[in-house]
């Protein structure tokens, strides 16, 4: 026992011999180049639109609009990664968003007040609707997952059927009419001036995140040392810590430089007896709730995918289904869980969409599946199975939305946006496939 302890402390294996050069230095930082490449691509896209728009694109308000618009797709794409990694597909995500959003609307405007008797003033009525909606999403996912995993029908077929039939069911909720007028607290989920966490909280979140990054790097280094893995050079650790903290603080700065619109600020000032200074009252909005939801979901999903058995089972099955089965993994239950998980995520995305719209329409969530799959794939998830990262998918969602929003902003019409989105998808995945082939 002590022998091992001594050896791990004394004989830290030497790091790979360095030959100098930038390539080597970069390799020592162990940055995931694919992810980094996508960040760079996102930056290039944003700068391109900034130049195209004559220098007005990169403003905090616009970046927040973009982030809120991307949030629904980003949330679902985290679940889609696990589904695609395990060699399945879910085409019904858009329809699940549609039916759950309509459920929220019908619950809050009709069933809860008129049938159950919970008036507008009932505390947390919106939360009841939210829980029921998430339950519905998970339930639909469970049903589809059961048919796929236990009965063995291919996921393409089952979810294609789901796509059609679920969208059809939505019609019966309101005979096709839009249902509007949701609870004010629920609407905060959709972002906007009041749907944001505010300046001080944003700095708190940023501080906590920075500490977490530093803590993680430190903890990681300690574990490596303990188990005898090669360590990153100290300068690399410091560099990563600095980059991470700067990034997080930068995001918080952008969020806090997005101020309440003047009308809303003045209304708030009057309501709270605050004097309006000469230049106007600037209330920082901070992170909108949808963005907070995306961050939270990304962190939880990444943790599930990398640190929980369930996540490892999913990757194991995706990499080699037979080996996973033989190793004793309950593969069917694992697969069913991936569909339940994505169903729940669709319900959350549906909440964001319904809150943004203050209601639900027949076509809410239409075509989401295309963008979600595109986001996951751009983020590095392979249809062959076994490969894919959650942060990559979220980044992919933001890349796609940056293009859509940017084109809208500079005035390119909707059909043009679709043309570009399709081309970007082919380019991104093509480049990645070519890169992988080159590397192997």
């Amino acid at each position: 026992m002590t022998q091992i302890a001594e050896s791990t402390r004394a004989d830290i294996p030497p790091q790979a011999p360095t030959r100098g050069g930038i390539g080597d230095l970069l390799r020592q930082t162990e940055i995931n180049f694919r992810l980094f490449g996508m960040l760079v691509a996102l930056g290039v896209i944003l700068v391109t639109f900034h130049v195209w728009s004559g220098g007005t694109f990169l403003r905090p308000e616009n970046m927040m609009s973009l982030a809120v618009q991307a949030s629904g797709i980003a949330v679902i794409s985290t679940g889609m990664v696990l589904v695609i990694v395990s060699r399945n597909i879910d085409l019904s995500v858009g329809s699940i968003v549609g039916i759950v959003a309509m459920t929220y609307a019908v619950l809050m405007t009709d069933i809860l007040p008129h049938v159950v008797g919970l008036g507008v003033d009932f505390p947390f009525r919106w939360l009841i609707a939210l829980v029921l909606g998430v339950g519905l999403g998970v339930g639909i996912g469970a049903l589809q997952g059961f048919i796929i995993a236990y009965i063995g029908v291919p996921s393409f077929i089952v979810t294609l059927g789901g796509l059609l039939s679920i969208r059809g069911v939505v019609w019966y909720f309101s005979r096709g009419a839009a249902v509007t007028g949701l609870d004010t607290d629920f609407r905060l989920i959709g972002g906007g001036a009041e749907g944001s966490i505010g300046g001080p909280t944003t700095w708190l979140v940023a501080a906590a995140a920075s500490l977490a990054i530093i803590g993680l790097l430190y903890y990681n280094r300690r574990r490596r040392r303990r188990y005898g893995f090669p360590l990153r050079p100290m300068w690399a650790e410091v560099l990563l810590a600095c980059l991470g903290v700067l990034f997080v603080l930068g995001l918080a700065w952008v969020a806090n430089n997005n101020f309440w619109p003047r009308g809303a600020a003045e209304q708030y000032a009057r309501a709270n007896n605050i004097e309006i200074p000469a230049g106007g009252l600037f209330i920082p909005s901070g992170f909108p709730y949808p963005v907070v939801i995306v961050i939270a979901v990304t962190l939880i999903m990444t943790w599930v995918a990398t640190r929980r058995r369930f996540g490892r089972y999913v990757y194991a099955y995706g990499g080699n289904p037979d080996a996973a089965e033989l190793a004793g993994i309950n593969t069917r239950w694992t697969i069913m869980k991936t569909f339940m998980l994505i169903g729940g995520l669709c319900a959350i995305a549906g909440a964001i969409a319904a809150a943004r719209l203050n209601g639900a329409t027949l076509d809410i969530g239409l075509s989401y599946e295309l963008y979600v799959i595109a986001a996951a794939v751009i983020g590095g998830t392979s249809f062959a199975g076994g490969i894919g990262t959650i942060p990559g998918a979220v980044l992919g969602a933001f890349v796609m939305q940056a293009i859509a929003y940017g084109l809208s902003y500079v005035g390119v019409n909707s059909p043009g946006q679709n043309v570009v989105a399709g081309l970007v998808l082919i380019l991104a995945v093509g480049f990645d496939t070519w890169n992988r082939r080159r590397g192997s």
Binding site: T180, G263, G411, N418
Partner: protein, 403 residues
Amino acid sequence: MKTSRLAIAAAMLIVAASCSTAAPATQPPVTDAPTGAPTSVPATATAEADCTVAVSWNNFQQPRWAAHDQPGIKETVEAAGGTYIDQDANLSNEQQITDVDTLISRGADVLIILAQDTEAILPAVERASQEDIPVIAYDRLIEDPDALYITFNNVGVGRAQAEAILAAVPEGNYVLIKGDPGDPNASTFLPQGWDEAGLKDKVDAGDITILNMSGDSWPDEAGTYTIAWSTETAQDNMEAIIDAANAEDQTIDAILAENDSTALGVVAALEAKSYAFPPLSGQDGDTANLNNVALGKQYVDVWKNARELGKAAGAAALALCEGQDMAGLTMDEGLVDPSVAPDSLTAQDFETPGGNTVKSFILKPTPITKENLNLVLEGGWVTKDQLCQGVDAASADAPEACK
């Protein structure tokens, strides 16, 4: 053994496929009225008991058709002893051609067609004319000289929208939100109405600036199209437009949205940006939008009392069934509300963009603003609860109809 199994499987597939194309199982109910079971036959009714009126919908899922058009047609037909049958094409051109075939096989005497595409429907119309079945083009134009065109004046809808908004905001910055680029209403008729109300003149004179031009060509590149008239797409597009306007320090003074589903997205975008509500137009009289008019979030909603349109089509169908000539077709006085009825009760000539001349009944739309919301209540279009949801009846801003 293997080949015979394959043969059986193939045979089953073929049978299944032909079954599914013969009876498209789409969502809305396909109803059949019992033949010869009139609910109330007016004393002057002619023997129309064996007239089967067949309707080919293109998108039954949109709320208006089930709620207003279908009852209008169905009740008129059945009250005179006719039979009503229908099919829905669910936005597919191919499906609609199949639907028309199916309706003809089911014994249609007259066809009422809501064409998904004005030219793609022509093979179906040709088949109908070969069978001597008269065709009514309902709400959407069919480029065929023998089809009777019954619609609301879509150009008139655009004109009513723009007249109301231009009266409220004669000068300033406008945002144009258009519908699906493939729909001639969105690309041609409504913008034509806007221009008839004076939009282009004002833009040329410099009084009005369009903030969201995607080029210089008028009207094609004026404004932003919204694929599938989708509310979410309209919302995202509008948020980007608001951001761009804020960045350039321009205020949005008025918004011309072509219909209610896009207008709903526009309102959501305005709320997300806490923008206040510049005058906004719409079309169709959807419940949520009429509620927005009551709340002051939408300025005008051009309402087409689709039930009246249905009645007109139903009555025309019955007349054609009897063998009346399309040229001399006359609407009964009092069949439809006088404010909605066309200027002349006899079928008029209409010049189509494709160069055909068709017989037509063009009904008039009704612009609804806060002041005349009572019309939609009186017409039974919405209930007071639906109309006034969230309205503070005691406040000075509240519309008369909600007090």
